[in-house]
């Protein structure tokens, strides 16, 4: 991803942060961690509370493999270390929400498939896969989650719409629910195609 799409992604993502900043519930409780994955996997922004979150710029190499599996592996480790589970002495965090955004397909498919059951066992509030642009393959994301959206284009309008929907999905994550119950996502706007 480069040129307009990556620019649009950056604008869209930072726009999402600004949108969330106006939500008092999110301002009080939301923490965000950003992992980028291409040939290398980086925790671009370590878990940061929304109020301290700084605008980020995501860079993308022009070509090369997409290590989605390695990114999931990093995510698993981070969840183990950073997520606070409730006990009689400690208040638990809300269920974490995972958004996987890609314009390609995993190059490390074996590792990717190895991580999927572990990710599923993590009890995320929701996992949303987003396949952006013509080259993104939906089938791999479907292995990870039932909630997959496809963006046909990656212009800034589509991305803004997408991130606005992400924002409303995040807001759904802080409501009390039954143990083991699955969260319902708000209906996506027309620009997004839900893959069934």
């Amino acid at each position: 991803m480069r040129g307009e799409p990556i620019q649009a992604l950056n604008n869209g993502f930072n726009g999402l942060i600004n949108m969330l900043r106006t939500d008092p519930q999110a301002m009080d409780s939301l923490h965000i961690s950003v992992i980028t994955f291409d040939r290398e996997v980086h925790n671009l922004v370590p878990l940061t509370d929304l109020a301290s979150f700084q605008p980020v710029e995501i860079h993308c190499p022009e070509s090369g493999p997409t290590h989605t599996g390695e990114a999931l592996e990093m995510l698993l480790k981070m969840i183990d270390n950073e997520l606070v589970k409730g006990s009689t002495e400690r208040k638990g965090d809300w269920k974490p929400l995972l958004f996987v955004f890609t314009d390609g397909k995993p190059s490390d498919i074996q590792k990717y498939r190895m991580c999927i059951p572990k990710i599923k066992a993590m009890d995320f509030g929701i996992i949303v896969g987003c396949a952006a642009g013509p080259k993104a393959e939906v089938s791999f994301l479907k292995e990870l989650t039932d909630e997959v959206v496809k963006l046909d284009t990656t212009d800034s309008n589509t991305l803004t719409t997408f991130f606005r929907w992400v924002s409303s999905s995040i807001e759904m994550g802080s409501k009390s629910q039954g143990t083991g119950e699955i969260m319902t996502l708000p209906p996506p706007p027309n620009e997004l195609n839900i893959i069934i």
Binding site: M27, K85, D93, S174, S176, Q177, G178, M183
Partner: protein, 493 residues
């Protein structure tokens, strides 16, 4: 010297040969040439110095300078770390006064209290101090002032024309046996922000045979019609007890349990490892299965206990059945009505107050004895690993789970100063974790908080009843970061 001459010859395309070498050798000692070469060197130094100066400015301009976010109405201080740019001096920062912050060039720091939320670009006007006639340059950095979360909350009234509409707050004060009760229920900010309904509900009623009951329920935020679920759960629960025959039977059973039965059936002395407190002679919370193994004398008591619990159990089952029926009749899903439920069914006997309780979900029932001599949590809480995770009266699986008997408790107190039922909107903010619900220090703070020791000065005056329900409702408006759920608190005092 020689290098300079050679570079010069290269520049002028003078080919190297013997004549040139000889000429060079002679000029090496020429005074004029030497003086000119020194001048050239010095000029070069000056040029490179100017270059460095400009380069530092350009580097500073390009450097990623991260300035921490500010929060509206909160004091802010930030010092620029210019160690990497020793000659750069920030003269002023334009736009900063827009938010009410000031910049001190001497210390390179920003401070003040930002007066509003804003995302903007700061224009840093800077110079290089090495320049003779410094020229100002501008570096732009993004700056974020977060809003005060208190200012972000909207208070939209709920639509009273909607299905199962409910008022945004409710309150009640009245008699409860020979004591008083005050209850208030306030819609949470998270609901007010969206104009959605309060999901909590409560119901208080005096019953035949001198019993009284209070029920509190917290509808799940994730369920569509939980506001109706909590309403049905509390109101219907109370209705199941509005039955003279049933309560008469309950009278006899309680009498048997606390008077006749213990004298005849209970082993003469309590076991050493089970201290029996003066005021609470019987906090029953052991699972029935365990007790079954005990000796025959205790079995008799157990039978009585089992009969009491079965009466309560039947009521709870009826509530569940009522919710199932309602969902069916309205053609909605049962889980759309998801709600927790706690209740206390109380009667004053000659031998003290009998308090029968039940709970499913994460709302506690607590009793405070005397001046905090004792404080007990009377119900089992369902608190998941994750925030907001719990169980509901609407879940059929709770009835088949082995912990069902633990949800009921039979207690007797000579007297109590407060019996409280609260939803997690209160418990999360004031007690935070389950283990603090029996912590006397925490309870002391909580009771003082109710007594007016809080930042709003909101006081609930238990001595003069006149405005108590309004006072409690006002008190419920307390601010607690991250806790904006509906709040319901019932206090028998």
């Amino acid at each position: 010297m020689e290098t300079i001459l050679k570079q010069l010859l290269d520049e002028f395309n003078v080919e190297q040969n013997k004549v040139v070498d000889n000429t060079l050798a002679k000029l090496m000692h020429n005074a004029k040439i030497n003086a000119l070469a020194r001048d050239i060197n010095s000029l070069k130094q000056q040029i490179i110095a100017i270059f460095q100066m400009y380069r530092e400015k350009e580097e500073f301009k390009e450097a990623q300078l991260v300035i921490t976010n500010a929060n509206a109405k909160k004091h802010y201080a930030y010092s620029f770390d210019l160690a990497q740019f020793p000659n750069i001096r920030i003269q002023q920062i334009k736009n900063l006064d827009k938010v009410g912050l000031t910049f001190d060039p001497e210390t390179s720091s920003i401070c003040g209290v930002p007066n509003m939320a804003l995302t903007m670009d700061l224009h840093l006007v800077f110079i290089n101090t090495l320049e003779e006639n410094p020229t100002e340059d501008i570096k732009i950095i993004p700056f974020i002032v977060n809003a005060d979360p208190k200012d972000l909350w909207l208070n939209k009234p709920s639509n009273q024309n909607d299905l199962y509409a409910k008022v945004d707050s409710d309150k009640y004060a009245g008699a409860f046996l020979d004591k008083r009760i005050v209850v208030a229920s306030q819609r949470g900010r998270s609901h007010a922000h969206e104009g959605s309904f309060r999901d909590d509900h409560f119901y208080v009623s005096a019953l035949p045979e001198a019993w009284a009951v209070v029920a509190v329920a917290d509808g799940a935020g994730s369920a569509k019609f939980s506001r109706q679920g909590s309403k049905i759960a509390t109101e219907y629960l109370v209705k199941t007890f509005d039955n003279e025959v049933l309560l008469h039977e309950l009278n006899d059973l309680c009498l048997a349990y606390y008077t006749t039965a213990p004298a005849e059936a209970v082993p003469p002395a309590p076991k050493d490892d089970q201290p029996v407190s003066a005021a609470t002679t019987n906090i029953v919370n052991e699972p029935i299965e365990e007790v079954v193994k005990a000796e025959t004398a205790e079995e008799c008591l157990l039978k009585v206990k089992s009969s009491i619990i079965n009466i309560l159990y039947k009521s709870v089952r009826d509530v569940h059945a009522k919710l199932v029926e309602f969902a069916k009749q309205e053609d909605i899903l049962l889980k759309d009505l998801n709600t927790t439920l706690i209740f206390a069914l109380v009667k004053k006997f000659d031998f003290g107050y009998v308090v029968l309780t039940f709970g499913v979900g994460d709302c506690p029932i607590n009793v405070v004895i005397g001046d905090l001599q004792e404080v007990h949590l009377l119900n089992l809480l369902d608190i998941g690993e994750f925030g907001g995770g719990t169980r509901f009266i609407t879940m059929p699986e709770i009835f088949s789970h082995s912990d069902m008997p633990l949800r009921f408790a039979i207690n007797r107190f000579d007297d109590f100063s407060k019996l409280m039922l609260m939803t997690d909107g209160i418990y999360d903010a004031k007690f935070i974790t389950e283990n603090k619900l029996e912590d006397k220090e925490r309870w002391n703070t909580f009771l003082q908080d109710l007594g007016g020791q809080n930042e709003d000065g909101a006081k609930v005056d238990f001595l003069t009843d006149e405005h108590i329900k309004d006072q409690l409702l006002t008190w419920l408006d307390f601010w607690s970061k991250g806790n904006h759920d509906d709040r319901t608190l019932a206090i028998i005092y």
